[in-house]
Amino acid sequence: MGMKHLDEYRDPELARFLLEEIARKATRPWTIMEICGGQTHSIMRNGIDQLLPDTVELVHGPGCPVCVTPLETIDRALAIASIPGVIFTSFGDMLRVPGSRDDLFTVRSRGGDVRMVYSPLEALQLARLHPEREVVFFAVGFETTAPANAMAVRQAAREGIANFSVLCSQVMVPPAMRAILSSPDNRVQGFLAAGHVCAIMGWEEYEPVAEAFGVPIVPAGFEPVDLLDGILKVVGMLEKGCSGVLNAYGRVVSREGNREARKVMHSVFGVADRPWRGIGLMPASGLVLRREYARFDAERRFDVGHIAPRESPLCRSGEVLQGHLKPDACPAFGKECTPQTPLGATMVSSEGACAAYYRYHRNPDSL
């Protein structure tokens, strides 16, 4: 038995067919960025980059919420989680991310009540069960996760659950794409857009980006065949000199996306400027609580004083996140910086490009 809608897209024969098509079509060198860290992970895990013809180079994008959450926000999370009486909840992804000094696990070892949740609704359930405690949820994510986070906040408001709040670090893809394409160092000629972000957002908002910068943008899935289909479509468009948006993830992505999810997301969150770790402030790139929901903002609820984050001077994750530097070209890669001793968030998250390189892609001869 196989997993329906998953295993079909791991078919080696189909993958080989698409690879040959890509090789046949790519007559010149092309540089394509996969935006999403999940795609990076899948590419590395399946060794797709090794199988592509030399003409096609993949560079890895900033689509990992763990990697782009500012150190200041992580330090704030650690400070809030350390407050006696607080139950601090987070997706498993964020628990190991080091702040300036330690991580959420360390806070737990010192007596902080830090708990892992799989769904934001589990955090809300903890607030229901412990009305005498303050339950804080670390709401990280891109447009895929923001609707889930939004639902927890809306539900807290509806049920009058006053002991629930969220620490937001939510970001959006299109501003990051624009920033990458506007950079004077940009090498990216075409994009694989993040399929699950597009499941929510659709692809309308990518059309003006594709037009303004003259690039192909292809929403793609995460399985090897999905990725190769996406790459084939980008290469096909590049070879023909066309730009625009072409969907390679039809079973999940439609042009209009998921209206219901967007409605709730926009009713709870508004767009704001947002700093991205390693990259800097990007205008209109974040999602923060609207005024009507401001009472659920953990940042306002808990005064943790001034936070002065300290970044490692060695880490070049900003360049990695924008596709300017391959992880193994960072001088600290595999030396000062490993998943056990990460200097930057891109080495912590399993989606981070540095961690994916370290895990799957170290050159065996280099060890």
Binding site: L6, M44, R45, G47, P65, E122, Y360, P364
Partner: protein
């Protein structure tokens, strides 16, 4: 009681563990007589002495200890008790020893339900029976509420080493075959999806089982097996990396040959966990000279706990110290050690 079998519990005056259950007085005695002895009683334990006096067969002995703190303590396919027995039995057996006697030390949290304890001790007796070992000495302590997570168990075990076998993780030779005795990741995913609060109801069953009988048969047939390990915490990936490092050889494994149960794979996909990183409690990895690999595999297949056994890879002279996976697509990637505790992820 209207139930057909005589449950000893109603005789106890408490439904939960009290501090006095660990104080050596009346309640301690009650607990021993009514929970521990009915399940575990044997000629050694029945004496209620402070020590067990054993006669060991001649030859070298193997001795091991491990402490179990798994949460939740009851999970599909086992309990912390069966885990504590099987874990120690397997630690002896993979070293080429015949496990004989175990000790069991309990740390109980005040307020722990005695009915759960009864179930746990019952599952220990069952596991010991299956493995053919005796629990010959034990101890119970009670700590205040909040000082431990319900129940912790330490088991130590003693066994006699077989004469002719020399198993060591430094023994790997290029050309050896890597055998995995069954599906990867069952226990780890069982525990992860059984954890309170997570939105799962998968009911994935742990693979918790004693492996000594199968190992005995394997070594009877092929005493020259080079190495054996049970891939518990850190999973198959951790053991393979250790083996490669200890023997300074490379290990190549085939993605398509690694058995994974359907629902385990489903849970792994959903939570973003690599089945090779998830724990097992009833599996072993054997490194066998190429010419004997088929024979050993056939023996494993004859046992329930080795039904899904497979040859998953080969030892090589290339990339010493590293484990390399050959994907179904024909690419290669490193199989790394898991970085710490396995955590479900959303991205």
């Amino acid at each position: 009681m209207t139930e057909p079998f005589a449950c000893p519990l109603p005789l106890l005056r408490h439904e939960t563990i009290q501090m006095a259950h660990g104080a050596g007085g009346r309640l301690s005695q009650e607990l021993t007589r009514q929970v521990f002895m009915p399940h575990l009683g044997n000629a050694f334990l029945d004496l209620l002495d402070d020590q067990a006096k054993l006669t060991l067969p001649s030859g070298r002995a193997a001795f091991t200890t491990d402490t179990y703190v798994v949460s939740p303590c009851l999970f599909p396919g086992g309990t912390i008790g069966s885990l504590a027995v099987n874990g120690t039995v397997n630690d002896l057996a993979v070293g080429g020893a015949r496990p004989l006697y175990l000790s069991a030390g309990f740390v109980l949290e005040e307020g722990f339900p005695i009915a759960d304890l009864d179930r746990i001790v019952g599952s220990m007796a069952e596991a010991a029976g299956k493995a053919g070992v005796l629990i010959v000495t034990g101890d119970t302590k009670v700590v205040q509420k909040g000082f431990c997570d319900g129940i912790f168990i330490n088991t130590s075990g003693i066994g006699v080493l077989r004469q002719e076998v020399e198993l060591s993780c430094r023994n790997l030779q290029p050309g050896d075959r890597i055998l995995l005795s069954g599906t990867a990741g069952d226990h780890g995913m069982s525990i992860m999806t059984a954890r309170e609060g997570l939105s799962f109801q998968s009911g994935i069953s742990s693979d918790c089982a004693p492996l000594n009988h199968m190992i005995e048969a394997m070594l009877d047939a092929v005493p020259g097996i080079h190495a054996m390990r049970d891939p518990t915490r850190g999973g198959v990936a951790a053991v393979l990396n250790e083996l490669a490092a200890s023997s300074s050889v490379g290990i190549d494994i085939e993605e398509r040959s690694i058995p994974v149960r359907d629902e385990v794979r489903g849970a792994c996909e959903l939570l973003g966990i690599d089945p090779l990183h998830a724990a097992n409690e009833g599996k072993l990895i054997a490194v066998v000279p190429d010419e004997a690999a088929r024979e050993v595999l056939g023996i494993m297949h004859a046992f329930e706990e080795g039904r899904d056994a497979a040859i998953i890879g080969t030892v090589s002279v290339d990339h010493p110290g590293m484990v390399v996976m050959h994907t179904v697509f024909g690419s290669r990637r490193i199989v790394d050690l898991p970085a710490g505790e396995q955590l479900p992820r959303i991205c």
